[in-house]
């Protein structure tokens, strides 16, 4: 072993606060340290030193600024330096003597002592670090589930970048809900629309014509197995009774077919034949048979000019290996029959999507085919529900959709009395123009909530509790409900192990702001309305954006494993499965001989390690033993008499807050030491216990609520410490010795307060 130590004075600014020469001498005396360099501004002048270190060291210890928060030399920069020196990316540690030492302590002696300890802690850990594993080969093929606009756009962009795509669509056609909506928003500051009858064929043709895209319609994902970083997926396609390679869409079969069936594409307003096309412009341009209705009379066989029909067709099974997955399964309408007062069972009460389809047949009400003279739109039908009927969130697009539809009726049928019942109008950004147009056309707006919709002798009566306290009854020939949108692919997400919110939308990887569309499962992305309600244009955007991310991920056909991944010692594993239930990233499988971590899916949070009662799982480069080794030396130079407090801080939020304490100029006594761990929840309570024996107090801090990078790590940690404190109280042990805090990056003040408070309490 040959350790190189670089001690940076940060332009001689650290020297005032810390006796750097003492650190240098100390480092020189450490076993296996072959080079110690004192440098002034390493971040700006490293080339020569890097050359000197090449081939001479196998581990690098950097003593200087924070690897988490430094603006010039954080871990990303260090990774570059390691590559230049030719070291494995796991072979470094940082002793943070700037942010968390020089900047936060005033007493030079205390700061120097702490710097020596932090150096030693980093050193002992570095000595036992293991190199990050070999890269895992990833299949350069992507599965896109859902052939709507988002899925197609993503597939097209991937294919153009040279990546093979398998696109699985449940329907016999591409286009999803977009194909059902005749007029789509396109907004450039004025209200304009484009037709799906142009958009969908254009994008669907582009998808179909690309040789890299294999389209499987009428199909769904049956099984998913994750092995060695790849997804092994079984796709089942329903029997293709009409061979798409022979069918020329002449329509002769449908002409002779005696069986009429409801056309789901037209919602409840259209019929088709058992053999037919769902809509004229459907792509793939082929007819299909609705199996459950076809009576196999054989009339179609007689007229088909290309012999494309085969009643004996069997389901097909496809097995593929993928390196990444895109979920583009779109939305479904909330089932409004669950909300009794909306009277959705009435034929003349329809959803907005149904109304879109109805209008393609003419503005005629379903019950008797008469053109309505009065029309009521009800916004928030199932959305923003406070009483549990429906969903509590805003479905985002429905106000705009209703404005579009109201505008259309007001323009084409100006005599129609149109009323919009609303709670708030939310037509964001440029869509506001649609609202203005409707207002200008004299449409009436009633602010309130629907009490009931009743049928009074063939006329609908909508009773509204108005916001001003009054009640209003509005007569209507027809009612259109702006239905809430809910996700459609919940079962599929489960197959991939994706964590969802309670409505079934995937939770994106924290920090979501810079990881949009990325789920908690590595390389499973979500686009379009599967992620949440969005207009078509936004869905297309997300498809393109994700394609770009995937291109970057798959460009080398491999994934470099990170420094931190879990592994299982199967001799110690009892297959209790607790690790797998704790894993937020679905990286653990329970096999016949024990639990197994798939390193390429592991995000290195250590939650599994923390819950394993027999310590069978360890997080490489964050092992229990490494932590305990660090604790062993953490207070070697500390002054006697002050409580020794160890702050165990999560990798993301809390450690950064500790850096900011110094940056923001707070001053603290130098009696505490910090260890940066992966997740606040990666420390097992048994290990905590061992730590508690060696120090006076332990502070554990993790991300604030709703912000944990590993789903529930902070919550589990909070509960764990609460139970520990409870047990300590019962056993007559001072519970102040162990404290939990939610500390976000900006909560540096709170962190300082917690450390001070602990010091005070433990001092007395």
């Amino acid at each position: 072993m040959s350790v190189g130590v670089i001690i940076c004075t940060c332009g001689n600014t650290i020297n005032d606060k810390i006796d750097i020469d003492r650190l240098v001498e100390f480092a020189k005396g450490l076993e296996d340290v072959s080079i110690v360099k004192k440098v002034d501004i390493f971040c700006k002048n490293y080339d020569q030193i890097v050359q000197e270190l090449k081939g001479k060291i196998d581990r690098l210890l950097f003593v200087g600024c924070s690897e988490r928060s430094s603006l010039t030399f954080n871990e990303d920069k260090i990774a570059q330096i390691l590559e230049k020196i030719g070291l494995n990316r796991a072979m470094f540690e940082v002793a943070n003597i700037r942010e968390q030492c020089a900047w936060v302590h005033e007493d030079r002696d205390g700061a120097t002592r702490k710097a020596l300890d932090q150096l030693m802690m980093a050193y002992v850990k570095l000595r036992s670090n293991r190199p990050a594993g070999e890269a895992v080969k990833l299949e350069k093929r992507v599965l896109v589930v859902g052939g709507g606009v988002a899925g197609m756009q993503c597939a097209i962009d991937l294919a153009k970048a040279g990546i093979d795509v398998v696109l699985v669509e449940r329907n016999p056609y591409l286009g999803g809900h977009t194909a059902q909506i005749p007029l789509l928003f396109q907004c450039e500051g004025w209200s304009s629309m484009c037709t799906s009858e142009c958009i969908v064929p254009v994008i669907a043709r582009e998808t179909t014509f690309n040789d890299r895209i294999k389209i499987i319609t009428n199909a769904e994902v049956k099984e998913v197995e994750k092995v060695n970083g790849n997804f092994y997926v079984t796709i089942e396609q329903k029997p293709q009774f009409v061979d798409p390679n022979k069918c020329v869409s002449c329509g002769k079969c449908a002409e002779v077919c005696p069986v009429e069936v409801p056309n789901e594409f037209d919602m409840k307003f259209g019929k088709r034949k058992a053999i037919d096309k769902d809509f004229a412009l459907a792509i793939p341009d082929t007819y299909n048979i609705v199996d459950e209705y076809c009576n196999r009379c054989g009339e179609c066989l007689k007229v088909c000019p290309t012999n494309a029909i085969n009643f004996d067709a069997k389901p097909s099974i496809y097995n593929y290996k993928f390196g990444a997955v895109v979920i583009a399964t779109g939305f479904q309408e909330y089932d409004l029959s669950k909300i009794a007062e909306l009277n959705y069972a009435h034929p003349d009460v329809v959803t907005s999507l149904e109304f879109e389809r109805l209008l393609t047949k003419g503005f005629k009400r379903p019950s008797d085919g008469k053109t309505p003279e009065s029309l009521v739109f009800v916004l928030c039908s199932g959305s923003r529900s406070e009483n549990g009927d429906g969903v509590p969130y805003c479905s985002k697009i429905c106000c705009s959709v209703i404005m579009k539809l109201a505008n259309r009726i007001a323009t084409l049928f100006p005599e129609t009395e149109i009323t919009v019942i609303y709670r708030d109008i939310r037509t964001p950004a440029k869509l506001e123009d649609f609202y203005k147009m409707v207002v200008n056309k004299g449409v009436e707006f009633v602010k309130g909530e629907v009490d009931e919709i009743t049928d009074e002798n063939g006329k609908l009566k909508v009773t509204v509790f108005k916001e001003d306290g009054g009640e209003e009854e509005i007569e209507a020939d027809m009612v259109v409900l702006a239905e809430a949108l809910i996700p459609a692919g919940v079962q599929l997400l489960k197959k991939f192990g994706v964590v969802t919110d309670k409505f079934g939308f995937p939770i994106e990887f924290q920090p979501r702001i810079i990881n949009p569309n990325e789920t908690y499962v590595d390389r499973v992305f979500v686009v379009g309305t599967a992620k949440g309600p969005s207009i078509v244009q936004e869905s297309v955007e997300s498809g393109s954006a994700v394609a770009m991310r995937i291109v970057e991920i798959l460009k080398d056909g491999e994934k470099k494993l990170q420094k931190f991944v879990s592994y299982v010692n199967k001799d110690l594993c009892s297959k209790c499965g607790i690790c797998a239930s704790m894993c937020p990233h679905d990286a653990i499988r329970i096999k016949e001989d024990g639990a197994e971590v798939d390193s390429a899916f592991c995000r290195g949070c250590g939650l599994c390690m923390s819950v394993c009662p027999n310590h069978a799982i360890q997080l490489i480069n964050f092992e229990d033993k490494q932590l305990l080794d660090q604790v062993e030396v953490a207070f070697k130079h500390a002054k006697e008499g002050e409580p020794r407090i160890l702050a165990i801080l999560c990798y993301w939020c809390s450690y950064a807050a500790a850096d900011l304490m110094g940056l923001k100029g707070l001053k603290l006594p130098a009696n505490f030491r910090t260890i940066r761990i992966r997740c606040s929840s990666s420390v097992n309570a048994g290990t905590l216990l061992e730590i508690l024996k060696k120090v006076d107090g332990v502070l554990i801090a993790g991300c604030p609520p709703k912000n944990c990078h590993h789903g529930w790590g902070n919550y589990v940690s909070a509960k764990r410490i609460k139970l520990m404190n409870e047990a300590m109280k019962q056993l007559g042990i001072n519970p102040d010795k162990l404290r939990w805090e939610y500390i976000g990056v900006a909560m540096w003040g709170q962190l300082a307060k917690a450390i001070k408070e602990m010091t005070e309490r433990l001092r007395s």
């Binding site: 919110d501 309670k502 110690l572 009892s574 297959k575 209790c576 499965g577 607790i578 797998a580 239930s581 704790m582 329970i590 923390s610 819950v611 009662p613 027999n614 310590h615 069978a616 097992n684 309570a685 048994g686 290990t687 905590l688 216990l689 061992e690 508690l692 024996k693 609520p705 709703k706 529930w712 919550y715 589990v716 940690s717 909070a718 509960k719 764990r720 609460k722 139970l723 520990m724 409870e726 047990a727 300590m728 019962q730 056993l731 007559g732 042990i733 010795k737 939610y742």
Partner: protein, 314 residues
């Protein structure tokens, strides 16, 4: 080969478990000479004292009084092999929960403060009655597992040990008789109970914690996933999952799995997983799933408080 069987701070269940062997006990008697077994046969302490030597002692119960301490030391002196039998002997067991309090507190509670007591009196080690001095053993300050008093050769955990574990012990006795010295010192599995548990798992976090009276447990599914605290994951198996099969969660009587640092804290680690939808809760309610636990120590150290390393922090 001479065998001593004795009980210390114990409920008597351990002795009964040996008797529960039924006719198999006749095989034991065939092979071994039971020279002391006060629960089953009429032996007095003087019989033990007068014994020159025995080969094996099977001792159940923990050490709670000075008399028990003396007794186990006496036994240790007489035998070559000492077996701690049952959870109390191995880890302190249920009496070990008394270690949350000191001796005075316990005596005061038991003899003075209980609601059914009037004018209670704490028994004294020495009481003068007329001209006689009556003595009682001293109530020690802490309950001790046997190995805190004497050297223990083998551990047979369980409250009481299950019949399969007892059979293993008889096997052990026979091996000792043949002059072997088996290396396996704990007569239980090195794997946790989950390893032999027949229940199925969906591999999800327990959505909440249900107290046993709050739900009717599904007989097929992992208790923990139903929110019923089952400590099988941290407990050695080998018991045959008898509680689990009777639809009762594991309470940990076989002690911690070998590589666990401490039974209770390891148990806490996983119990703290319970909960769901915390993102939707106000911060004050985030821990509510575990707040339902009324007696944390009683739960996590039901059979092993004297062995608690958390307790050592005091």
């Amino acid at each position: 080969m001479k065998v001593v069987i004795d009980w210390l701070a114990s409920c008597g269940g351990c002795d009964v478990s040996i008797l529960d062997l039924g006719v198999k006990i006749l095989d034991v008697i065939k092979e071994f000479d039971i020279v002391y077994w006060p629960v089953a046969l009429d032996f007095k302490r003087k019989d033990l004292k007068s014994l020159d030597k025995a080969d094996i002692a099977i001792v159940n119960g923990a050490v709670r009084t000075s008399e028990q301490e003396e007794q186990v030391k006496l036994i240790r002196d007489k035998v070559d092999v000492l077996i701690a039998y049952g959870s109390c002997a191995c880890f302190g067991g249920i009496p070990g929960l008394g270690n949350q309090f000191d001796a005075d507190e316990i005596l005061k509670r038991a003899y003075v403060e209980t609601p059914s007591t009037t004018e209670g009196k704490i028994p004294q080690p020495v009481t003068k009655l007329n001209d006689t001095e009556l003595t009682l053993p001293k109530f020690l300050d802490k309950v001790k597992p046997l190995d805190e008093v004497v050297e223990v050769d083998y551990y047979v955990p369980g409250c009481p040990p299950s019949s399969s574990t007892i059979e293993e012990m008889i096997d052990l006795l026979l091996k000792i008789k043949r002059g072997e010295k088996p290396e396996r010192r704990v007569l239980a599995s090195d794997k946790s109970l989950c390893y032999e548990c027949p229940r199925f798992k969906s591999l999800v976090r327990p959505p909440t914690i249900n107290r046993p009276h709050e739900i009717i447990a599904d007989q097929e599914r992992c208790f923990l996933e139903q929110g019923i605290i089952c400590l099988g994951f941290v407990t050695r198996g080998g018991c045959g999952a008898r509680c689990i099969k009777a639809n009762m969660p594991c309470r940990g009587c076989y002690g911690k799995v070998p590589n666990a640092v401490d039974f209770g804290t390891e148990a806490i680690t996983a119990i703290a997983m319970a909960g769901t939808g915390e993102d939707y809760l106000p911060p004050m309610r985030i821990t509510e799933a575990v707040d339902k636990i009324r007696d944390v120590v009683g739960l996590i150290y039901q059979f092993c408080l004297p062995k608690s390393k958390l307790g050592d922090l005091k």
